[in-house]
Subunit: 196 residues, 2 copies
């Protein structure tokens, strides 16, 4: 694990301090676990481990921001107005990357994209996107029916793992009668064939 | 039940003959059952019974058309090209209404719209749309877990019935790993709050 993040101009110690300041202890532990999981998956699938780790570390950076802050960011950066109809679950990735760019000097587009879509996914995800999306779902603290299968697929094939995760996420939302973000459906429709 | 359909210039006998010629015996029985169910729901909820019955009778008119015929209609009427990526389940309503207009002189926009969206629904459906959408789901031949609840809701509240049906349909598609038409998701997102 790098001790220094050159593009941020920060030592690992200082970066961890900044991340920790944004969230609860429990979420901070999750974030560290996703970082480690993302690096493991990157190693298996030939993805840049440094980028996977940094994206994992920052993926939930904005998760505990208040709604007002997300609304400010949506307006300030002239983002799709429809985002205002959604909530934290969609915002913390899709809008959260603007907060990250305000607080840290992160410019790497691949890392930012992986953070952006880590909850809702998208069509034609990059392998880095997939690694972060899947690592978030299977990190060791996760415990839900199907997590063992998700872990097996994650080692074997990233596309199958994305498909399995997206199907599980959509089913979970339907069971709870929660609205589904259209981009989540796009991810489902694009990847579902990989399960067959 | 009307014996004559003035806007079609057809007796009921002749119209039934035309409908019957388009489909299997089993589907024809389903169509008659949806007609009857739609009239019943229309009566309960103060919707035009004549329109509900005619929409019910014609809702699956195009269901057994070959794919080539749907593709011809999509091109001929310059419909959304994305429709080509979908299949019979989406086509028989969304595209089927063009076949109905070619074969019969049906011009009533409310009836055509109810037929158009009878499988995928849409935001802000009219009460006639809802009656046909729901009648198709609960007619007496239908037998699936939840059909009793669907029938109860249909009598009580059309919006709740639409929400319940759409949730059930989306869950069914996910369980079978089938792609979901974006308009079906729009219906789900628009109506799901009625279940709460």
């Amino acid at each position: 694990m790098s001790k220094y993040y050159p593009e941020l101009g920060l030592t690992r110690e200082k970066l961890l301090k900044k991340v920790k300041a944004q969230m609860s202890k429990k979420r901070y532990e999750h974030v560290l676990a996703v970082e480690e999981q993302a690096i493991k998956l990157a190693k298996i699938h030939g993805v840049d481990e440094y980028k996977a780790g940094l994206a994992g570390l920052l993926h939930d950076y904005a998760k505990e921001l208040p709604a007002e802050e997300f609304k400010r960011l949506i307006k300030k950066y002239d983002l799709d107005k429809d985002l205002l109809n959604w909530g934290n679950n969609v915002w913390h990735g899709m809008v959260g990357i603007y907060k990250i760019q305000e607080d840290l000097v992160l410019k790497d587009k691949e890392i930012l994209h992986a953070i952006k879509v880590h909850t809702v996914g998208c069509k034609k995800m990059s392998d880095l996107d997939k690694v972060v999306y899947v690592a978030d779902y299977i990190e060791p603290h996760r415990d839900f029916p199907g997590v063992y299968k998700a872990r097996r697929l994650a080692k074997k094939n990233l596309d199958e793992a994305v498909a399995y995760e997206t199907r599980g996420t959509v089913r979970h939302l339907i069971d709870r009668e929660i609205k589904i973000y259209p981009q989540t459906l796009e991810t489902y429709n694009y990847y579902i064939d990989y399960l067959k």
